[in-house]
Symmetry: C2
Subunit: 161 residues, 2 copies
DNA sequence: CAATGTAATTATAACCATTTTAATGTGATA
DNA sequence: TATCACATTAAAATGGTTATAATTACATTG
């Protein structure tokens, strides 16, 4: 178990070892990815840091996220037309995503080697990896839905869709 | 085992039952989805049909794909910034995707209920479903790579990234 | 066989996340 | 200090997809 600071430092060491120059921007973006404990979009990162770097361009955020991706520090999560989200990933893990509010929560699962093996056998592909996401409704949205129904006190507005 | 024609007819019946008007465009798009045996992009469908319907607009393709999605006949496969691909799906199945050429091949797997159950327990979500894709290199691209190398005949090529 | 209203289609413009470009700035190294 | 590679900026371009408004086709009813 390591603190956020330690995670950032470790990431920075890894970047340095790969010959990546550590700029204030890069430090800040990394730090935000670690501290936010979430899976922010490029724009969220940009907005979160623009008070600190008033001249920073969005392109810088994208450029640096790409650098982080190349070193394997960060994974890009893509979901159709919406913005990509960026995941500072230490351990391999899967995501469960709320269909109502879009929240993304990590969970661990032993691995799905069996699926990979079967897919390889059946299709003749050589397999590199896989992607798995589970979809559902998060506890918060479940509660909101329950409250909306109760008796009929619409003192809470139902949102949905 | 049913023929392509039967599949199309069945799909059309289903659409009619849902009150969807069957226009020549819709018939042609459906037919292309079934016959192509692939997972075309909206633009591929558009290009494939523009000789038959010289005045057809791209918007029509998108509109009708959305109609098909609503009835559950077609699934949209989204991969980041690239174009969506559309899958005329009869049985549930998974996809394995070539990292080199982008080819998508179907395969079947008993099901991953266990993952869903575990994810639900750990996160408190109620689960609706999941998405799984396997990535690798397709046989064609393996052969191409082998041929490119052929000084020292590696009968199996290891690929990464 | 009109007349009517609804749904489909067209053409074009708008959208928006992301990337590219070209110019400028910065920092490490020798 | 000179140099050179790399970072950053600002703005424009890209490209898939959607929205808009006008037009057209179709099914239904009288």
């Amino acid at each position: 178990m390591s603190t956020d600071m330690e995670k950032v430092d470790k990431a920075i060491d890894l970047l340095k070892d790969s010959g990546v120059r550590i700029t204030p921007h890069r430090h800040a973006i990394l730090e935000y990815l670690v501290i936010s404990e979430s899976h922010p979009t490029a724009d969220e990162i940009y907005k979160a840091l623009e008070h600190k770097f008033p001249n920073m361009s969005v392109a810088t955020v994208y450029n640096n996220l790409r650098v982080f991706k190349k070193t394997g520090l960060v994974k890009e999560l893509t979901y159709g037309d919406a913005s990509s989200r960026f995941d500072f990933s230490t351990k391999p893990h899967y995501h469960i995503i709320c269909n109502k509010c879009g929240k993304i929560v990590d969970f661990y699962y032993p691995g799905l080697n069996e699926v990979e093996t079967l897919a390889a056998q059946v299709t003749g592909f050589t397999v590199n990896g896989h992607r798995l996401e589970v979809y559902g409704i998060c506890p918060d949205c479940q509660n909101k839905a329950a409250k909306d129904k109760d008796g009929d006190h619409p003192d809470q507005v139902s949102v949905t869709e």
